[in-house]
């Protein structure tokens, strides 16, 4: 039996020779390029709009900050509890439906937060079918709790973001295998105490990574909070930008978001402390799940089923219903096939590109754990918490400057006028996706890279393999799971992305998310349901493929 354990180990020694410089240099370069939009945003602080800040301070800044913190706390706690509990249940117990729940619980990942938001409002709001029926039965005074509130937004985000925690927690629990847990049990700990005292602390990096992703999503979200009328810093940015036509001031507010994101990441890293969590062998033997019976089995099944119903079946059912109605009435975009093709193509390229960058950053950090590589990775992750539109502008400004400069230079060289090459091409858009989603792939790649024992690096190197060869022959095969998860996450995220796509997409290129935006903008939820459903279904395919693939290669 293979054994897995977490232990304190020395860091891998920096590789010798030329490659020591190549990897950190590549990481710095990646981080520098990806940081450009952040720098553009931060540079707005150079010319503070004092009058506006005073106005914001007097009227709303405290409220926005408190609302944002409350949302982060709610989503953080919600995703942590839901994701961890579900992962623990499916990894350690046998109960009716477990085989289905194990993969099905990842599915809500494919639903954009703004989509689950408008489906829930459609069902549960005052003028929706449910409350209307309640009023008919119980009288005009019958009311459900207001969804357009902190609780409502937190619930929506918890339901669609918990899979981040669930995915990483499940992988971590599984990788831990039975050894640690059995040791604890043999020392007289109950199953629960063993879980709390051994399993959870060992899984901490994965849990923290998942929660950090969920919180950064919540921080950068605009669609959901705007639909629910819940005012956060991000919502404030849009108000300042669109309402006061003050892009600079909006960027200044966005710098506050950047600082929040930085603090979140610091907390996440801090939670790992000085400990290193590694997995000594390729994979630990899995603990044999305990078979639950009776009330306990029912409780486990009901818990999983309830989450799945709320986070997936209900919104998708509502979307399907609306879609059917829109379809029957012929209110469907004519070019749905083209929209789908565009969406998938963009997402695939963005996913591969972003994961390549993540591997460079994560690997440089492993080979050469210095302050420079650590900060490269951190800085490159900040984009995730920025609203897509802010990133888009951070991309658009430098890109168009470069473009105008290139155009002028080329025109001088060739003697012919040259149009814009980059602005409005796919380059800007892919760049924006990489900036926004690098954190997602980096978290996943880094978390799985951390679990590979450094002794493997030493062994490979003592056998004469260079860094590149070690990466290819040793790490990448071990990283397959993490890389697949990273690619799928970015793929799905890109499909759901709306604001940056809107601003940067090439001339005439429409995607499903664009179609959803256009319809929801006019509150045409039924028409929005068709493209929204297409996004969900298209996201399900890769999610399911990864799940099947990861269970096929298990053990």
């Amino acid at each position: 039996m293979l054994s897995a354990a977490a232990d304190r180990v020395v860091r891998p020694r920096p590789a010798a020779g030329r490659l020591t410089r190549v990897w950190p240099a590549a990481a710095l370069l990646v981080a520098a390029i990806v940081a450009v939009p952040n720098v553009v945003v931060l540079s707005s602080l150079a010319t503070p709009n004092v009058e506006l800040w005073l106005h914001l301070w007097r009227t709303q800044l405290v409220e926005l900050a408190l609302n944002t913190l409350a949302l982060l706390a709610g989503v953080g706690a919600g995703t942590l509890v839901v994701g961890t509990v579900l992962a623990w249940l499916v990894v350690n117990y046998h109960f009716p439906g477990r085989g289905i729940f194990e993969w099905a619980l990842i599915l809500p990942l494919a639903i954009p937060a703004y989509v689950i938001g408008f489906t829930f409002l459609g069902i549960f709001e005052f003028s929706g079918p449910l409350q209307t029926a309640l009023r008919r039965w119980l009288g005009a005074g019958a009311r459900l709790p207001e969804l357009r509130s902190w609780g409502g937004v937190t619930l929506m985000m918890t339901l669609v973001f918990y899979p981040y925690v669930y995915l990483l927690a499940r992988a971590a629990f599984r990788a831990q295998g039975s050894a640690a847990l059995e040791t604890a049990r043999s020392l007289g700990r109950s199953r629960l105490r063993a879980f709390l005292e051994v399993t959870l602390p060992l899984a901490r990096p994965s849990l923290a990574a998942g929660v950090a992703l969920a919180m950064m999503e919540a921080l950068g979200d605009f669609g959901t909070v705007a639909t629910f009328g819940y005012r956060t810093l991000t919502e404030g940015i849009y108000r300042v930008w669109y309402g006061m036509f003050d892009r600079v001031a909006a960027a200044q507010l966005a710098s506050v978001l950047l600082l929040c994101a930085g603090a979140l990441l610091a907390l996440e890293r801090g939670s790992r402390g000085q400990q290193r969590f590694t997995q000594r062998e390729r994979r630990g033997a899995e603990a044999a799940p305990v078979v639950l019976r009776g009330a306990r089995a029912a409780a486990a099944t009901v818990t999983c089923a309830a989450v799945l119903a709320l986070a997936f079946l209900l919104p998708v059912g509502q979307l399907a219903l609306w879609s059917a109605r829109a379809w029957a009435e012929g209110r469907v975009a004519r070019d749905l096939g083209a929209l789908l093709a565009n969406t998938l193509g963009l997402a695939a390229v963005a996913a591969v590109l972003t994961c390549l960058l993540a591997v460079v950053l994560a690997y440089a950090g492993r080979l050469h754990p210095s302050r420079a590589t650590r900060w490269s990775a951190r800085f490159a992750s900040l984009g995730y918490a920025l609203p897509g539109a802010v990133i888009a502008v951070g991309v658009l400004i430098p890109l168009s400057a470069l473009d105008h400069w290139m155009g002028a230079t080329l025109a001088r060289l060739t003697g012919r006028p040259v149009g814009l090459l980059l602005t409005g091409s796919a380059v800007g858009l892919l760049f924006a996706y990489a900036v926004r989603f690098l954190a997602v792939s980096l978290q996943s790649v880094d978390a799985s890279l951390t679990r590979i024992a450094p002794s493997l690096d030493d062994a490979a190197r003592s056998l004469g393999a260079g860094a590149g060869r070690t990466l290819r022959r040793v790490h990448l095969p071990l990283l397959r799971g993490g890389l697949a998860v990273a690619t799928v996450l970015v793929f799905v995220e890109t499909m759901k992305e709306m604001p940056a796509t809107l601003l940067l997409r090439p001339f005439g290129l429409n995607t499903l998310a664009m179609e959803v935006w256009e319809r929801t903008n006019e509150a045409l939820w039924q028409e929005a349901a068709v493209p929204a459903l297409a996004i969900v279904l298209a996201g399900l395919v890769p999610v399911i493929v990864v799940i099947r693939w990861s269970s096929a290669t298990r053990g």
Partner: protein, 343 residues
């Protein structure tokens, strides 16, 4: 995974990147064919405007539409500067048009025909943009709970009798900002702030979406609300029994607030002559009729007639202030709403 030490593979990657760039430049350079008019449009159902299709049929001039959100098209135009492929900017809300004019993105249209087609208060005083359609924002009420006699002005919604009975969009909504901005131009900030405070004191329910507000009024969540009329037109066309009606606000005073969707010609248009032709056609009675029929909006050209679905609300007195006020006072309106606690 590529081995970074392999020079051969690096060379292939570089060649691939170069090919990609070339392909992209071909794609992006394809915009400006001879005479084709490129439109950046933020009107809903972009690219599917029947009036634009009719223009192509009539003149043979091709039109290529590119849709997007107002501020985003604005930022795009700004970034593209003199190299923009766009000849025409179509957008919603007078404040947005005013802002595009001020940012130097639009050129004077210099067309006597457009000036003849559209009343002066619906055009830029400096001649850079014109309205295409008129959108009225007025009081909507539940027909079984409110008698029209109880209603009079926007200002009167601050009366305590409306406590807990009003549904509003948030103050972040551009039509509300423009609404407050024109009010500021009319009555000055102190008076408008007083009005907004009285609304806030009535504890309005904030709902994101005009259609949603109308549904909320119908369901009895609130009794009155402020929305654009074409949203009600769309619902009534499908469900004539929908229990909400439009009340024309401020008929005895300033007239009902209106906003526009409109268009201008970009400062760096390559096909300016055809762009002018397009806007002249879009403001003509024929095209205006198609606008009025397709979205229950009011035509900007008074010669066109309104859609029968909304004609039953009767003629009404429009606020005749120049809609440019929406832009001039938009920032002031946003700050005023913040101060008054209107979220």
């Amino acid at each position: 995974m590529r081995n970074p030490t392999s020079k051969q593979q690096t060379g292939w990657a570089a060649a691939g990147a170069l090919a990609l760039l070339l392909a992209l430049s071909m794609v992006t350079g394809a915009g400006a064919q001879s005479g084709e008019v490129v439109v950046y449009s933020a009107r809903s159902q972009y690219g599917q405007e029947p009036a634009i299709d009719a223009f192509t049929r009539k003149t043979g001039i091709q039109v290529k539409s590119f849709g997007g959100n107002t501020s985003e098209l604005f930022d795009r135009l700004k970034a593209e500067r003199d190299k923009t492929p766009a000849d025409v900017l179509i957008t919603v809300d007078a404040g947005n048009l005013w802002n595009a004019g001020r940012a130097g993105l639009l050129a004077r249209m210099d067309s006597p025909q457009i000036a003849a087609n559209v009343p002066a208060n619906l055009r830029d005083p400096e001649g850079r943009w014109t309205a295409l359609t008129v959108r009225a924002r007025t009081i909507m009420y539940n027909t079984s709970k409110v008698k029209p006699e109880e209603l009079s002005t926007y200002e009167a919604l601050g009366d305590p009798k409306w406590k807990d009975r009003i549904c509003l969009r948030t103050s972040a909504y551009v039509y509300n900002q423009s609404f407050l901005a024109t009010m500021i131009k009319r009555s000055g900030e102190p008076r408008v702030e007083q009005v907004v405070r009285s609304w806030v004191a009535n504890n309005p329910t904030l709902i994101n979406g005009d259609t949603k507000i109308l549904e909320a009024i119908a369901a009895g969540q609130c009794d009155v609300g402020l929305t654009n009329t074409y949203y009600l037109g769309r619902i009534l066309a499908k469900d004539p029994a929908f229990p909400v009606a439009a009340f024309w606000a401020n008929q005895q005073t300033t007239g009902t607030h209106i906003n526009i969707s409109g268009a201008g010609i970009t400062a760096n248009a390559r096909n300016r002559a055809n762009a002018v032709k397009l806007l002249e056609y879009l403001t003509s009675p024929e095209a205006q009729q198609s606008f009025a029929d397709s979205n229950f909006e009011y035509p900007a050209n008074p010669q066109a007639s309104v859609n029968p679905v909304i004609a039953r609300w009767g003629k009404f007195k429009q606020d005749d202030i120049n809609v440019a006020a929406a832009g001039e006072f938009q920032a002031a309106a946003t700050k005023l709403a913040d101060r008054a606690g209107y979220k």
